[in-house]
Every structure is written in C-alpha cells, then in structure tokens.
C-alpha cells in the first residue's frame, strides 16, 4: 500500500520536475478555450452571479457551482488526448 503511495508521489514529483505538468496544463487550457468550454462556463458564471447578487459572491460559491459543471463539460476528444499524453509519460518514466 505504502509502496503504491510512494510510487505515486515519485511519479508526481517527476511530472513536475520535468516540466511536463506545466505543459499539460497549458495544453489543456488551450484546448478548452478552443472548444468553447471556457465561454460556456463563463455564461454559467453569469447566471450564478446574477442569482447570488454581484456584491455577495464569494470564491467558494463560484467554486462549488462551477467545478462539477466544468468537469462534466470537458469534451471527450480533449479528455482522450490528455489521457493519452499522460499515459505516454507514465510509460516512459514509470521504470524507477
């Protein structure tokens, strides 16, 4: 069990150290903007804010409303491509 966690921690560390996590983040961000996900979610934000009132919106409100919807709205092609890249990285670097 702990070996598992150790391995996970080691892989995460490698991901960050090699800059791959940053690259994946940028790739994801670019793809989400391209496919309109950001605009969709922004429109949803507008509704939430109008509902809660402009002055009283907190970060927690937004996070609670936006995150589940955001996770669901990611298109399949983007998800597949990202998973592919992650798997490729793991295949290359999982031999510790």
């Amino acid at each position: 069990m702990s070996k598992d966690l150790q391995m996970r921690a080691a892989i995460n560390q490698k991901l960050i150290e090699m800059g791959e996590r940053e690259r994946l983040k940028e790739l994801l961000r670019a793809k989400l903007i391209e496919c309109g996900w950001k605009d969709q979610l922004k429109a949803h934000c507008k509704d939430v804010i109008k509902e809660k009132g402009l002055e009283h919106v907190t970060v927690e409100d937004l996070v609670a409303e936006i995150t589940p919807k955001g996770r669901a709205l990611v298109p399949d092609s983007v998800k597949k491509e990202l998973l592919q890249r992650i798997r490729a990285f793991l295949a290359q670097h999982s031999t510790l």
């Binding site: 991901l15 961000r29 989400l32 934000c45 798997r87």
Partner: protein
C-alpha cells in the same frame, strides 16, 4: 527483489490507468479553479459585466446573419454598378474602374509615369533621325518642351535616347569588363 519488481509492473497497468485518471482530474480541477479566480476577480474589480450595456443597445447592434447582407446589416455590393463622374475629364466611369481611370487621367500613380516614359521613348525613337538634322542655333533658343509636340532638341532627345539605351549599354560595358579580365587572365596563365 526481482520478484517484487515484476509483481509491481504487473499491478501497474490498472494502477497506472487509475493514476493517469487522477492526474487528469487534478489538471481539470486546476483549470476550473483558474477560471473561478479569474471570474471572481473580474466581479470584485467591476469589469465582469463591462461588455453588457442596456438591452436596447444590445438589440440595436446585434449581429445580422442574413444572405446578401454583411454582419452590420448593410448591403455590400450596392455600389458595384453605380457610375461616378470623373472630376478631371467629366466622363462617367463605372465604380470598379474609377480608381485606375483616375490614376491615368490625373497623371499620378506608378503605372501612369511608366506609360508616359514609354510613350516619350518610343516617340523619340521615331523622331530621332529628324532631330539629327537640326541646327545648333535652333536648339538653344527654345525652352524645354515635350518631345512629341515639336522636333526634340538634341540635348533632351539625347537624354531620353540614352535612357532607352541604358539597359543594352550597361550590358555591353559589363561584357567588355569581363572580356578584359579574361584576357589578362589568359596572358598571366600563358606566361607562368
């Protein structure tokens, strides 16, 4: 040691898949949080709803999506077949031909000077033989004039004549230079 490593790699396929999904979820959550922070800051700084004004203005300037009309609602080939009156020669010209016509009519623009030069050069080539027979006295009396109107003076006609000859003269001088160099090279090689 080896046994452990092998069992690890055997488990790893499902574990790796789960790990990949976890990493992916983390990345998506990062993206969502990023958006939340961006929106929250825009709300608190007051620029979130900046692109929305009152409903009436938004209805006025809505994007138009009809055939034959651009996105502002204007007909865009309305002036294709209209005719304009040229201020110089007072002829009525079609709109799409108006700009080139104006260029030639007013004598401005790149093409019109090229055409004028060509006309002068060709008319001087034709009248060249005539200008050779002129007296020198006659030439110095007149002021500068167009070559096509009167018999061209030798000076101006020479200038224009030389200009039309410039290209071949340059080529000939270049050929002479090369020939010169080759000649000296030949002498040098035959001596050594």
């Amino acid at each position: 040691m080896k046994m452990e490593a092998m069992s690890l790699s055997g488990l790893d396929n499902t574990k790796l898949e789960a790990l990949a999904h976890d990493i992916y979820s983390d990345l998506v959550e990062d993206a969502c949080l990023g958006l939340c922070f961006e929106v929250h800051r825009a709300v608190k700084q007051g620029y979130f709803f900046l692109d929305e004004t009152d409903q009436d203005s938004m209805k006025d300037f809505e994007i138009v999506d009809q055939p034959g009309v651009d996105i502002f609602g204007q007909v865009y080939n309305q002036w294709k077949n209209k005719e304009c009156v040229c201020p110089n020669c007072s002829r009525s010209i079609a709109a799409s031909r108006f700009a080139p016509h104006l260029e030639k009519c007013l004598g401005m623009g790149r093409n019109s000077s090229r055409i004028a030069n060509r006309r002068i050069a060709s008319s001087n080539n034709m009248s060249k033989s005539e200008s050779d027979q002129e007296d020198n006295d006659d030439i110095n009396d007149n002021d500068w004039s167009y070559g096509s109107e009167k018999k061209a003076k030798k000076r101006k006609s020479d200038k224009v004549f030389l200009r039309s000859l410039k290209q071949p003269v340059l080529l000939v001088s270049l050929a002479l230079d090369i020939g010169n160099i080759l000649f000296y090279l030949f002498i040098y090689l035959s001596i050594s």
